[in-house]
């Protein structure tokens, strides 16, 4: 069986779904960040595959940018996480609900 | 100066109000009276300079505001608006002059002056958006007056007043935008000028929808049944001055707008809705009169009586003939004077006893004969005694509507019976009988300051009742041109036959929007 574009796309979609589930289910901030990384990277796979399929570099460029952005996102995210941990000693999402209504 | 008299009338009080912030607290009252008097004199000058024989707009001013969207600052008066403008200047003047000692008197006077700007603006505006600006803006000072100086439920009352009217006028705004759009489709130009809109002939279905949109805005303001429930609260909670101006001027905005917008712009729809509206008006007249009869608080009696009288005004307006419309405009002025006076009178007793419950009174005629006399006069005016101001309006309104429907006029005419019932009952409870309550036995009669307001009102009540001509004549001329316009514009056979053709009316150039859609 030849691995075609559709397989990549299905894989990407499955990974995206996993990421989404992770985003919804994780209560630990760090794991939540992981889930968002999965989201972004699942898209990267698809981009690379489509790019290959079209013989066009744009998709790969997009993927590169996504990687770069994901990296900076993590940097900011971890920064916030560290401060939060310093202040509260926990990185549990449920305690983060002083504002509501 | 005469060229810009309307702008001066509108903005002079507002400017004066700004300066009012700088005035010392003790002299603010004198300042307010001075400003309001100047304004009143200016409005009298307007009357003096007004040419009664011209039916169209006079003292027109025009200034581009947002020409890209067809919004222009256009002002003008005709016989219809002239007297309401004078009335608002007059009531602001006597309102400030007779203002009893209140807290924050400075804020009150400044607010009143701002309110005056909006009132004059509404009646002088000839551009729908300018009209709308003042229309909405008038809510704000009134909100403050009710909310800051009102009774225990003042916040509820003021918010209800504001939101209810605001909601209604937003629907009206949508109607205005449609109207402008239709004008745009017909001519390729945006315009919100009322006089431009007059020339637009709309298909009947459009008229119906637009009429309905405008109707909601106006009906809440009037207020018409079943949109009237904000009024008793507003009146019940407002301080005297607030009630006076609310009843005398602000309510008139709604009925005035019917004549300014609904009738000439949607003649066919007006005919179509004539009977439903007449039925609502009859409900207003009878139902609210009965509710007024059941009241325990004298101010509420007067408040509900306002609604009842507004019903007669509506009936007159939708008579769609000269007699009826002239009558309704005259009744607007009449009701302004009389209900304003009645609220002032209620204020007099409230200042003395700090209660408005009729059960607290009784036998006041012994203690306060002058008060009882003036109250009696206004009472009689309110029930439509001939030779008082109200009668002229009521008579003409009902007379006018009689041409359209006999049986409905008969029902509407019940106004003169039920009106007498609640008014006499209230008067009896307050003034007749023995003085049963100790607290009433030593009440001072009306003092000079109160007479300052009440005597001019009494004089007007009689004067215009005996000799309404100076007011009725300019009204008549303008109304004739509107009726003729309606006749010429109407499309349906029904409307043509319902709206009389006066022939002698001015010829109007027309723009057909038949192709619109």
């Amino acid at each position: 069986m030849e691995i075609g574009l559709n397989h990549y796309l299905v894989l990407s979609t499955i990974l995206f779904a996993i990421g989404l589930v992770g985003v919804m289910r994780r209560k630990n901030l760090l794991l939540l960040f992981f889930a968002t990384e999965i989201l972004l990277n699942s898209v990267n796979i698809a981009f690379a595959a489509i790019s290959h399929y079209y013989g066009d570099l744009t998709g790969q460029m997009f993927a590169f940018f996504v990687i770069a952005i994901a990296a900076s996102e993590v940097a900011v995210g971890l920064g916030l996480l560290i401060v939060w941990h310093k202040r509260h000693g926990k990185i549990d999402l449920d305690q983060m609900s002083t504002m509501k209504g | 100066m005469l060229d810009h008299i309307l702008s001066i009338l509108i903005f002079f009080p507002a400017l004066a109000a700004m300066f009012g912030f700088m005035i010392q607290k003790d002299s603010i009252r004198a300042y307010g009276v001075a400003v309001a008097t100047i304004e009143f004199v200016l409005s009298l000058w307007l009357w003096f300079a007004f040419d009664s024989n011209v039916s169209g707009m006079q003292f027109m001013e025009q200034l581009p505001l947002i020409p890209a969207f067809g919004i222009n600052y256009i002002l003008g008066v005709d016989g219809i608006s002239l007297f309401i403008i004078i009335l608002s200047a007059f009531f602001t003047m006597i309102g400030i002059a007779s203002l009893t000692d209140t807290k924050n008197v400075k804020n009150m006077i400044v607010t009143l002056l701002f309110l005056q700007m909006t009132m004059v603006g509404v009646f002088a505006a000839l551009d729908a958006i300018v009209f709308y600006i003042f229309w909405e803006l008038s809510l704000v000072p009134m909100l403050y007056i009710i909310g800051a100086w009102g009774g225990p439920l003042r916040v509820y009352a003021s918010v209800k007043f504001f939101l209810y009217t605001f909601a209604g006028s937003l629907v009206m705004l949508v109607g205005m935008l449609f109207m402008a759009y239709f004008y745009y489709q017909a001519t390729g130009m945006w315009s919100f000028a009322i006089l431009d809109w007059y020339r637009l002939i709309l298909p009947e279905t459009f008229q119906l929808w637009l009429f309905a949109a405008f109707f909601i805005g106006f009906a809440i303001k009037v207020p018409m049944f079943p949109f009237h429930t904000w009024l008793p609260y507003a009146h019940g909670q407002a301080p005297t001055i607030g009630s006076v101006i609310l009843a005398a001027i602000l309510l008139k905005m709604g009925t005035y707008a019917f004549i300014r917008f609904s009738l000439p712009m949607f003649p066919d729809a007006s005919v179509f809705f004539m009977f439903p509206i007449a039925i609502i008006a009859i409900i207003m007249i009878i139902y609210t009169a009965m509710v007024a009869y059941a009241q325990e608080d004298v101010k509420q009696v007067v408040a509900y009586s306002s609604v009842s009288h507004m019903g007669v005004i509506i009936i007159g307006t939708f008579a769609l003939n000269v007699e009826g419309i002239s009558g309704s405009i005259f009744l607007m002025i009449a009701h302004g004077v009389v209900s304003g006076a009645l609220f002032l009178l209620v204020g007099v007793i409230y200042d003395r006893r700090h209660t408005k419950m009729m059960s607290e009174f009784g036998g006041l005629a012994h203690v306060m004969p002058r008060y009882a006399t003036i109250f009696g006069l206004m009472l009689m005016a309110s029930v439509g005694m001939p030779l008082t101001i109200n009668f002229v309006g009521e008579f003409l309104s009902l007379l006018g509507f009689y041409q359209q429907s006999h049986i409905l006029t008969l029902l509407a005419g019940i106004a003169i019976v039920v009106g007498a019932i609640y008014m006499l009952a209230a008067y009896k409870k307050m003034f007749f009988g023995e003085v049963t309550n100790e607290k009433n036995s030593n009440l001072p009669d009306v003092n000079k300051r109160e007479l300052l307001a009440l005597i001019p009102l009494s004089i007007i009540t009689i004067w215009l009742g005996v000799y309404p001509k100076p007011v009725l004549e300019p009204i008549n001329n303008s109304v004739e041109s509107i009726v003729q316009l309606m006749h010429d514009k109407s499309i349906t056979q029904e409307a043509k036959s319902r709206i009389p053709n006066l022939v002698k009316g001015v010829e109007i150039s027309r723009t057909t929007a038949g192709e619109a859609h």
Binding site: T36, L40, A46, D56, S72, L80, W84, M96 | P64, L65
Partner: protein, 502 residues
């Protein structure tokens, strides 16, 4: 052997980059200055930022001149797209930023402003937003969006309170999810059309007559979700109230304006061609979004007890209101969007500044939150002028004529009317009435209640400095006299929007 790349500098049209580069240079300069000599006063940085923003503004004026003469300009490998929308939105972005920056000069000392990084990040953010609106390339949009967002998360967090960290984390996490959605959506479009440029996507889709409408819709859904988050459309709005509450009032005001206009431009570029090509589904969904967002946010705003949170919901509602322009999609509607937002900038920034100026350093015991309604009780007696100005902003927000926002609403509803969306027009109008209640509530507190004992009025100007006062005065003047400005503004906007083909 590959051919050496031969690009003429002229075709690159580097001038198109100027407006974005200016704030970046400014940001770098601030960082360099800090490296050379730390501990300088914030006034310097405020001044510098303002200076660069002014230059930015100047370059925009220049660009607008070019546009007025020769129409849309492409540049830098046709990635940059300087059309009317880009210019108009940048005017709003930069203008609002200029109004925001002086708010750093508070009377009380706040943590974030003592860091030069704050100003650098701020300028980076501005350039991010500028990139976002000045292109139709999905990649550059993404880059601009993330540059701006990441900077914004940090700025919020720098307020250095528990609540601001919480807000930043929430905003950040949801932003990350939205970024995921965005990239997935782009991927779908890319897969369908083989391009990431919106106008090319439109061409391709039109060419095959939307054969894969189902897939197009999937892409649209993810884009909607992503921008729904940015624009705080219900149900993607959940971050908004919390973040507004957590951020400083000034920052909240900023957030209610600048990020949203940037997002609106992208949405306008992306969705309007879809609606115009007859994607009924999107029209229906947007219709629902508009109504639900307007109404639900209004209803939630009713029940708030904190003014800032109320204003947050109100901003959500206003965004929903303006979203109608995207749905209607006529030139008038798009012009209305800009008009509305320009006027909204004055009013909303003004009202948030009023909260900012009354912000105490520490929360007193009797106050439930920084800006609870109770705090403003009886303000007319203790600080009459401030109360009047605040009331003015509230009336403007409620759409009472002749204050600024009324004209926006007027034109927006009119565009709904002309676009044939009668019911929508009515709902928009009635929502203004609901909204009237909560704006009124503040007015009632200020004007009709008795002040809290011991309140001498100082609290309302606790944070007052000349800079803040002038900003508020500026906003107030803009709000009152909007009437005068509407006509030139409208003509300017309409010609720009029209000439950009929207």
């Amino acid at each position: 052997m590959l051919e050496p790349v031969n690009v003429s500098m002229e075709s690159l049209n580097l001038m198109t980059l100027a407006p974005m580069l200016i704030p970046i240079i400014g940001a770098l300069l601030i960082i360099v200055i800090d490296i050379i000599k730390g501990g300088l006063d914030k006034t310097l940085y405020v001044g510098l930022s303002l200076l660069f923003l002014l230059m930015d503004f100047g370059s925009l004026l220049e660009a607008s001149g070019v546009f007025a003469q020769s129409g849309t300009v492409m540049g830098v490998f046709d990635v940059m797209l300087i059309d009317g929308l880009a210019i108009l939105s940048q005017f709003i972005i930069v203008g609002a930023s200029m109004l925001f920056i002086p708010l750093a000069l508070t009377h009380n000392r706040f943590h974030e402003f003592s860091y030069p990084e704050f100003f650098a990040l701020f300028l980076f953010m501005i350039s991010g937003f500028q990139f976002m609106v000045a292109t139709d390339n999905l990649i550059l949009i993404f880059v601009g969006l993330e540059t701006a967002s990441l900077a914004l998360y940090t700025l919020i967090a720098m307020h250095n309170r528990d609540k601001s960290f919480e807000a930043a984390v929430k905003y950040f996490t949801m932003g990350a999810l939205a970024a995921g959605f965005y990239s997935f959506g782009s991927m779908v479009f890319y897969a369908l059309t083989g391009s990431v440029e919106i106008n090319q996507m439109a061409t391709v889709l039109a060419a095959n007559n939307y054969a894969d409408i189902g897939y197009v819709l999937v892409g649209v859904v993810f884009m909607l979700a992503s921008f729904g988050f940015k624009l705080s459309l219900v149900p993607f709005h959940t971050w908004a109230p919390d973040v507004y509450e957590g951020a400083s009032a000034a920052m909240a005001g900023f957030m209610s304006i600048v990020p949203k206009i940037a997002a609106f431009i992208v949405v306008m570029r992306l969705f309007e061609f879809l609606i115009h090509s007859g994607v009924v589904w999107l029209e229906i969904i947007l219709y629902i979004f508009v109504i639900v967002t307007m109404t639900a946010a209004n209803i939630w705003a009713l029940v708030q007890t904190d003014v800032k949170r109320m204003l947050a919901y109100s901003s959500v509602s206003h965004a929903g209101f303006v979203m109608a322009a995207i749905l209607i999609g006529t030139t008038q509607a798009n012009s209305a969007l800009f008009l509305y937002w320009a006027l909204f900038t004055f009013t909303n920034l003004g009202s948030f500044s009023m909260l900012w100026i009354s912000r105490q350093k520490h929360l007193p015991a009797h106050q439930a939150s920084d800006h609870s309604y109770d705090k403003f009780a009886g303000m007319i007696q203790t600080a009459p002028i401030a109360a009047v100005i605040m009331a003015l902003f509230m009336l403007s927000l409620a759409g009472i004529p002749p204050f600024a926002l009324f004209w926006g609403k007027l034109y927006m509803i009119s565009s709904a009317v002309t676009g044939g969306y009668t019911v929508l027009a009515l709902i928009m109008a009635l929502n203004s009435a609901i909204a009237g209640y909560y704006y009124l509530k503040l007015i009632i507190y200020m004007f009709m209640k008795e002040p809290v004992v011991g309140n001498d009025g100082h609290v309302y100007v606790a944070n007052s400095t000349l800079a803040l006062k002038s900003i508020i005065g500026f906003a107030a003047v803009g709000t009152i006299f909007a009437l005068v400005a509407v006509n030139p503004l409208l003509e300017f906007i309409t010609s720009f929007v029209y000439n950009s083909g929207y």
